[in-house]
């Protein structure tokens, strides 16, 4: 749960993102109202993790058909630091092998390529893994992944190290991050 504190008037000394609208009660109420309106739907579905400068939003895997030996995992990574980082690997309980892949669809042909040097997350940048682009390829799957369950896993960064996360299992036909509302 994200803890939220209203900025006190003294905090104006420190430059804060929202300090300009926090003057007076009306401003504070407006800010609170805006914050709640914008943040509540997100908080209700909050499924994010962080480690140092790295914020990880809604890690999910596609539910798998019976007998499937692979599963595609997706996550959005934000780097708030001033140094680039690199996602070099990942793990998920239920999978014994993992690769980072990039998928492309050109001229009607689906191609998948390994990314042996990982996925760069630039300083101040954001990487959104989603169907049709980057994915974490979980191989040698030990069991079927069913929609709605959560599966423990980790993301491994060159700089931020190992981050414990939970992959949410979304529908077989899911097309994107549920928390971002990018359902097509």
């Amino acid at each position: 749960m994200t803890r939220f504190r209203l900025p006190a008037p003294e905090s104006c000394e420190r430059p804060r993102k929202h300090s300009s609208i926090s003057r007076g009660w009306i401003g504070r109420l407006t800010f609170l109202f805006t914050f709640l309106t914008l943040a509540l739907p997100h908080l209700a579905m909050a499924h994010d993790f962080s480690a140092g400068d790295i914020k990880i939003d809604h890690p999910w895997v596609r539910a798998t058909p019976t007998g499937a030996k692979v599963a595609g995992g997706y996550v959005t990574i934000e780097n708030f630091g001033n140094k680039p980082d690199r996602l070099i690997s990942a793990t998920m309980e239920a999978s014994k092998q993992v690769e980072l892949h990039e998928m492309s669809l050109t001229d009607g042909v689906m191609r998948m390529r390994g990314l042996p040097t990982g996925i760069l997350v630039p300083a101040g940048g954001r990487i959104e893994m989603k169907p049709g682009g980057f994915h974490i390829m979980f191989l040698d799957l030990q069991r079927q992944l069913r929609q709605g369950e959560k599966v423990a896993g980790t993301l491994i960064f060159e700089r931020a190290g190992i981050v414990q996360i939970e992959f949410q299992v979304d529908a077989i036909g899911a097309l994107g991050s549920a928390s971002g509302g990018h359902q097509h």
């Binding site: 019976t66 007998g67 499937a68 692979v70 042909v109 529908a171 036909g173």
Partner: protein, 209 residues
């Protein structure tokens, strides 16, 4: 007398012009809107045979050898994929399943063939297991590498084995769905990113043929 002659010629010329004009209008109507207009059905009509699709011999997910002849007489959707595919293949199978549900009784004649591009790992048993998660009308097809290669070639599709870092491999393949009519003639494609309404319209048009 000279004047009368000119008037007579002019009159005949006008009659000839009028006949020509009337004939042109009637002929135009006849061909564009009249009895001899091309059947359009609101879509693109393929004239002639584009030679997509053709003879194949494969093994279905019940282990039975089948050929293209077994699927003639009913409209058919054909697509390529493999069960070690994390993204495109389960999505296409899932979308096809929901489209079959949406079409309901309309689609009772429709056949769906999922031809593996990876016969090495996709045995009939593996396909049978995998297809349990989708519409039971979907038929999985595999075979020897040569049989699958021949089917890929017949459909002018693309499938290529690519080694991956972990010592395994993945398969690049055509992601579109082929629409084949009752006579095994190619009628068009559903693109991977096709809008839902358009995909359903194409399926309806295929069924109505």
């Amino acid at each position: 007398m000279q004047t009368l002659k000119i008037i007579r010629y002019a009159a005949w010329a006008m009659v000839a012009g009028l006949i020509f004009l009337t004939a042109a209008i009637v002929l135009g109507w006849w061909r564009v809107d009249g009895p001899s207009r091309a059947p359009t059905n609101g879509g693109i009509e393929i004239k002639g045979l584009p030679q997509i699709g053709g003879p194949f011999t494969l093994v279905n997910h019940h282990g039975k050898t089948v050929t293209d002849k077994d699927f003639l007489g009913k409209p058919t959707l054909v697509f390529f994929g493999f069960t070690f595919c994390p993204d495109v293949c389960p999505t296409t199978l899932f979308e096809t399943t929901t489209r079959l549900q949406k079409l309901g009784a309309e689609a009772r004649d429709l056949q769906v063939l999922f031809i593996t591009a990876d016969p090495e790992r996709d045995t009939p048993e593996q396909l049978a297991l995998y297809l349990q998660s989708f519409d039971p009308r979907i038929v999985g097809l595999t075979g020897t590498q040569e049989q699958v290669d021949a089917a890929v070639l017949a459909y002018k599709a693309y499938a290529k084995k690519v080694p991956s870092e972990g010592g395994g491999y993945t398969v690049d393949h055509t992601a579109s769905v082929f629409l084949m009519d009752r006579n095994g003639r190619f009628m068009g494609l559903i693109d991977y990113h096709e809008q839902e309404a358009s995909a359903l319209a194409k399926m309806r048009r295929l069924i109505a043929k």
